[in-house]
């Protein structure tokens, strides 16, 4: 790819802070001098990420590391606290209404729980067809044909279009979720743990569907998951997140062959695999710290086997350690 192509989307210093307002009693207590602070969670902390057109990027991390929040910000469902998103080289914040609509239509999200993300009181045809109809991609007359094409492509039998979500199994519901996203012809899908709730054999079906759709429509994809096995299977590049920060960003081959960041190394070591038999499980010590009160400096330092003094003081910056390979650790400076 030549250098002039702008990335499909690019995040620049995206930060999202969730704040819990103090209740009345605490406010009074504070005004009387008690040391009470607002509960602040920095879910996403100055994240820079760029995704090129046609690329599948995996975003992995443990629960609570902010990967879903980042996904939602990229889709435009959740506003960021600060930072900018560039879509095809343009800043989303200064877009015209028409451009913004184009951005929002082209990035669609597929959610984790196929039971909670479908309206139980709507029939499949309105779940899938509503957005397409609203945006004028089809007309009421042609809706049936349009739906058939979309459902067929997502492996759903079009004769089920008058059914309700509860009449489907988990795997089929996830297909409905995918069909709903695909109905507006997006160029990019953000999949938030889309196969986590499914059985192995159903998971294989849905992953195959993703790969087919990607080939047919040249989709760009941000695949959020905690399952490294799944992410490894379908991604071109992988970003590893820890407590709101991206700690490593590299191609799949590089990341799995020579993981750089100590956290990535630990994570990869613990992926259970079919080939690993009678493993002596040696676990990474400690748990992910509370995001309410993250450790100083590098967030990973209390669990890191290579911890140095500097790690406790200032957070390391995300730097390019090799062409196209980014990591956020002091180790390579030595």
């Amino acid at each position: 790819m030549d250098d002039t192509t702008p990335p499909f989307f690019r995040c620049e210093n995206i930060t999202r802070i969730f704040e819990k307002r103090l209740d009345f009693a605490s406010k009074i207590a504070r005004s009387m001098g008690a040391d009470i602070r607002d509960d602040r969670v920095q879910a996403v902390d100055s994240v820079n990420l760029q995704v090129m057109p046609g690329e599948v990027v995996g975003l992995v991390g443990e629960s609570g590391c902010g990967k879903s929040t980042l996904g939602r910000i990229i889709c435009g469902i959740l506003p960021q606290s600060s930072g900018k998103i560039f879509y095809k080289g343009k800043d989303v914040a200064v877009m015209t209404a028409a451009e913004k609509l184009d951005y929002e239509m082209n990035i669609q999200m597929i959610f984790q729980n196929p039971f909670a993300s479908l309206n139980p009181r709507k029939r499949v045809n309105s779940i899938i067809g509503e957005a397409a109809l609203y945006h004028g991609l089809t007309t009421t007359k042609e809706l049936d044909n349009y739906l058939e094409a979309v459902m067929d492509q997502c492996g759903l039998d079009p004769s089920y279009k008058n059914r309700y979500p509860h009449q489907f199994s988990g795997g089929q519901r996830q297909r409905i979720g995918i069909a709903r996203a695909m109905a507006v012809n997006p160029e990019c899908l953000v999949c938030d743990e889309s196969v986590a709730a499914l059985d192995v054999s159903i998971q294989a079906q849905v992953l195959n569907l993703f790969m087919d759709l990607r080939d047919q429509h040249d989709l760009t994809c941000l695949f959020i998951s905690h399952d490294l096995g799944v992410v490894e299977h379908i991604s071109d590049r992988i970003a590893v997140m820890y407590l709101g920060r991206i700690v490593e960003y590299a191609t799949v081959e590089e990341l799995f062959q020579t993981p750089f960041h100590p956290y990535t190394q630990a994570l990869l070591h613990e992926v259970p695999r079919l080939e690993k038999r009678n493993v002596a499980f040696a676990a990474l010590k400690g748990e992910i710290p509370s995001p309410l009160d993250p450790p100083s400096g590098c967030h990973f330092h209390p669990r890191c086997p290579y911890v140095m003094d500097i790690c406790k003081e200032a957070p390391p910056a995300l730097r390019e350690i090799a062409p196209g390979r980014w990591a956020c650790c002091y180790l390579d400076e030595k």
Partner: protein
């Protein structure tokens, strides 16, 4: 060879619902030896949890054990009275459930809940019971157990709660632990912490473990033996190496093919065609028949369990090689 710790013969656990009889566990036979880790693998609805519940006598109406026998140390369990069950549960065998938030009482402190489990089986002083609880908590890797034992469940993280549940199970040093997907809701790093604790415990105390899961990759690392369940039957059983490297049953083969793994990155995964049949009206003959590539006229009859020369069991007319 001496007799196994747990010996299940032709167990049938049926649920008698208004729509019909759900054959959740349909004629399974299974044996577990002392100190052995058995992985029970299957997809949702395959009857693996109900098997666990049957062993513990926890099948609720409309379900009941309709036939077969479960022998624990040579003693028949299915004919026990409720009183005998109560004595059995917790002291001889313990079960760990999937969701630790559901199994711990949110309004009682950990110490209350744990000492209760000891007092149910033994007459010991409160002080001694408490000391044993602290010891159990330390064993599963909870830091500063003297302090943490005074906490409520909501003050623990998910991984820590699961450890408390495991510690409670260990209190009366049972001979058998049944773990029903205890790490499914946890992160990879926490999962391997729990797995490492369980592994150490099994080796140290020679306790038998039945690990129920849908995740073949966990079984690969943890278990000695695997039993694969499909639609209420065990379709294949054998050592981890045999089953995962050279599966005999087409369903096992399909399951292994659908796991994303290192050597097939970016390729299409194997899809088992069709869907799991409804347990109310199972197809005649082999339950996997409709989805199987080796389907033949023979399969219209229920395939018998064949025990091969190498000790592997398979339930198929056309096993692979």
């Amino acid at each position: 060879m001496n007799s196994p710790l747990l010996d299940i013969q032709d167990l049938q656990t049926y649920f008698f619902t208004r729509e019909g009889v759900v054959k959740a566990v349909n004629n399974i036979s299974l044996a577990v030896n002392k100190g052995e880790v058995l992985g029970l693998v299957g997809e949702s609805g395959s009857g693996k949890s109900v098997t666990g519940f049957s062993i513990m006598g926890l099948v609720d109406p409309p379900g009941r054990i309709a036939g077969g026998s479960i022998k624990f140390k040579g003693q028949e369990l299915t004919t026990q009275t409720e009183e005998q069950w109560r004595a059995f549960r917790g002291s001889s065998a313990a079960m760990i459930f999937q969701d630790p938030m559901m199994t711990l009482n949110p309004v009682l402190r950990i110490d209350t809940q744990m000492t209760e489990a000891i007092h149910a089986h033994e007459n010991v002083s409160r002080k001694e019971a408490r000391a044993r609880c602290i010891e159990a908590l330390a064993m599963v890797g909870i830091p500063s157990p003297e302090e943490r034992i005074k906490s409520y469940p909501h003050q623990f993280s998910g991984g820590m709660r699961q450890r408390v549940a495991i510690a409670t199970g260990l209190l009366n040093s049972p001979d058998l632990i049944i773990a029903d997907e205890p790490t499914t809701a946890l992160d990879v790093t926490i999962q391997s912490q729990i797995l490492s604790e369980m592994q150490k415990l099994c080796r140290k105390t020679n306790m038998a473990l039945i690990w129920i899961t849908h995740d073949l990759t966990v079984i690969a690392g943890l278990a000695n033996r695997v039993a694969v369940m499909y639609a209420g039957s065990i379709v294949e059983e054998g050592s981890v190496h045999d089953v995962l490297d050279r599966p005999l049953h087409p369903y096992t083969e399909g399951l292994i093919g659908s796991v994303p793994s290192r050597n097939k990155r970016g390729e299409r995964l194997y899809q088992i065609p069709g869907m799991t049949p409804s347990l109310i009206n199972l197809p005649e003959g082999c339950p996997f028949r409709m989805r199987c590539s080796r389907n033949s006229e023979l399969c219209l009859k229920v395939p018998p369990v064949t025990i091969r020369e190498d000790g592997r069991k398979v339930c198929c007319f056309h096993p692979g090689t």
